[in-house]
């Protein structure tokens, strides 16, 4: 039996949802116009006023904003209400260094936590569950978001935060944690440690995991599911929009339902900025519908993905997004070819290696070089040098056919690639230095 946290919204008919979105969009645009001079100026430059926005069909008329605007307006330029009403900030470093600071009123926090509660419920969580939140707590949204969601569902919440792996495992075992929330790379690491300790999946009480905040492949999902003996659910979000829970996976595990009653999605062509029809691959753009402190209209996420309204077996009618191929921030351009770290990970796992790898990009004699360093595993090791070299060559061929690019593969000793407790450092781009 599928459970929902807010069934009337998660399973609403299309008509009900559109009516709700229309009403909320009109209000949100008015709110921004009245309170955010930075965005009002962009609207004026485009000759748009709130009167032009009567329904979601008018969305395309609004100007888009991006991380660039967040940096320009740092720290208070996009604030949508009096600071007195704000109760919290969260912040993310972003790949380019300058921090993004997002503000929340109490209503904004509640809305965010409800989104996370929907995700936990979709993963099978109820008030009988013990939910261990091993995301970092603090400025990073992972810990606080899932912590709040877990409270709302009524789970017994274990706020371990990230790090101290042996203590994490002790709590999972001693308090019989049934749901684990963390980054996929940390889940894989916990699984690796528990396997080393001789724990079989049957001896681990976990039944579900909610993993997000970094790109991970389908193969990595299966690996984590097998070592921990759980069902692993993807979750997606951006600090700019609230945090994790903008979209979440259901039991079908075929894309994430967007909480579109709060975040209205569009797919655009990142070059022409044209809105693309449903089913097209392009950049994901979100418009917040309920935010007070940090409303964002047509915010470009840089994430490349596809939206789908295909009927879902879980009963939710919320639109689904495919797992993003990667943030365009993560995207590397190597010798003119677009490369996502997640593509490399897929190949590694397909060829029998573990997801312990690092991608090193450099430039030598004006040519980009791509070196994939991957840890040797007991399964891939043999005393036969020729055999190891053959497997190495097969992997290079596999990468070539996936990326259209010749990579170097370096086999490194186990545990030499630093294990991450938060987001894994997958890419070292020496070209920028």
């Amino acid at each position: 039996m599928e459970r929902y946290y807010q069934e009337e919204l998660e399973c609403a008919s299309r008509e009900t949802m559109v009516a709700l979105q229309n009403e909320k969009l009109v209000k949100q645009v008015k709110h921004v116009w009245d309170n955010v001079p930075y965005y009002r100026k962009l609207m004026e430059e485009k000759g748009v006023t709130p009167d032009d926005i009567q329904s979601i069909d008018d969305l395309y008329k609004l100007p888009m904003i991006s991380k660039y605007d967040l940096r320009e307006a740092y720290p208070y330029g996009l604030l949508g209400c009096d600071l007195k009403k704000c109760v919290r900030i969260q912040s993310t470093s972003g790949t380019t260094g300058k921090r993004v600071v997002a503000f929340y009123t109490q209503d904004d926090v509640d809305l965010w936590e409800e989104c996370c509660a929907r995700a936990i419920t979709a993963a099978g969580g109820t008030n009988e569950d013990v939910c261990q939140v091993s995301y970092g707590y603090g400025l990073f949204t992972g810990g606080p978001g899932l912590n709040g969601g877990s409270h709302k569902v009524g789970c017994l919440t274990i706020p371990t935060s990230s790090g101290n792996t042996d203590r994490q495992i002790m709590f999972i075992q001693d308090l019989q944690a049934t749901i684990l929330c963390c980054t996929p790379s940390y889940a894989a690491y916990l699984g690796e440690r528990m396997k080393e300790m001789g724990l079989s999946p049957d001896e681990i009480p976990l039944k579900a995991g909610i993993f997000g905040a970094e790109a991970w492949s389908e193969e990595m999902r299966r690996d984590i599911e097998n070592t921990l003996g759980i069902k692993a659910f993807d979750i997606y979000g951006l600090t700019e929009l609230s945090g994790p829970g903008v979209s979440f996976e259901c039991s079908e595990q075929s894309g994430m339902h967007i909480n579109e009653d709060h975040f209205l999605p569009e797919i655009i062509d990142p070059d022409t900025l044209e809105v693309l029809p449903e089913g097209s691959e392009g950049e994901l753009v979100f418009t917040s519908l309920d935010k007070e402190a940090f409303p964002l209209l047509r915010y470009r996420t840089r994430d490349i993905c596809v939206l789908s309204r295909e009927k879902c077996s879980c009963g939710r009618t919320l639109i689904k997004m495919k797992k993003p191929k990667g943030r365009s921030d993560d995207m590397l351009i190597i010798r003119g070819v677009n490369v996502f770290p997640s593509q490399i990970e897929t190949v590694l796992l397909n060829y029998g290696y573990a997801a312990n790898y690092q991608i090193i990009v450099d430039r030598k004699n004006n040519t980009d070089t791509l070196d994939v360093q991957v840890e040797m595993t007991p399964e891939m090791f043999t005393d036969n040098l020729g055999e190891i070299e053959k497997r190495q060559k097969d992997l290079i061929d596999g990468l070539k056919s996936m990326l259209g690019l010749k990579a170097k593969v370096t086999l490194v000793a186990p545990k030499t690639i630093t294990r991450s407790e938060g987001k894994a450092v997958r890419v070292i781009d020496k070209r920028k230095i």
Partner: protein, 144 residues
């Protein structure tokens, strides 16, 4: 009786072989034979040791990747062309040698041993015994 070889994955960087033998020395493991096969960035150390299981455990505890492989240790007759005779015997039996290396002379032993990695261990052993050669077993190695 085939003996067990320990193979270890090492990065081909200065100090790596040192570090591994340090670990074994600390655990009082005696290396009776060792050979190294390497590429530009990694290598495989193949060893015959006095205590195979202790070695495997210690390596694993220290995060090395190691595997065990059966190999044949043949005592090389102390005559001119001794090794040549062993090789001939294996060739005649149709045994393909993947690689081979010499054992360090043991404290008590005045014989040289050659370690052979072959696909068909049993077949090699039968052929060598029939040819009158002496094969070392695990105890011989431990007592060497």
């Amino acid at each position: 009786m085939a003996i067990k070889q320990i193979s270890v994955f090492l990065e081909n960087k200065p100090g790596r072989l040192d570090a591994m033998t340090d670990v074994l020395t600390e655990a009082n493991i005696d290396i009776r034979a060792l050979s190294l096969a390497e590429t530009k960035d990694f290598g495989i150390v193949r060893m015959i040791v006095d205590d195979v299981y202790e070695t495997a455990t210690i390596l694993k505890d220290n995060d090395y990747i190691a595997s065990m492989t059966p190999v044949v240790a043949v005592r090389i007759p102390d005559i001119v062309g001794g090794l040549n005779k062993v090789l001939k015997c294996l060739t005649q039996a149709g045994i393909n040698i993947e690689y081979m290396y010499a054992s360090l002379a043991g404290k008590k032993s005045d014989h040289a041993y050659m370690i052979f990695r072959v696909e068909e261990v049993q077949k090699a052993e039968i052929a060598l015994r029939a040819g009158g050669f002496l094969l070392a077993n695990q105890d011989d190695i431990s007592d060497m």
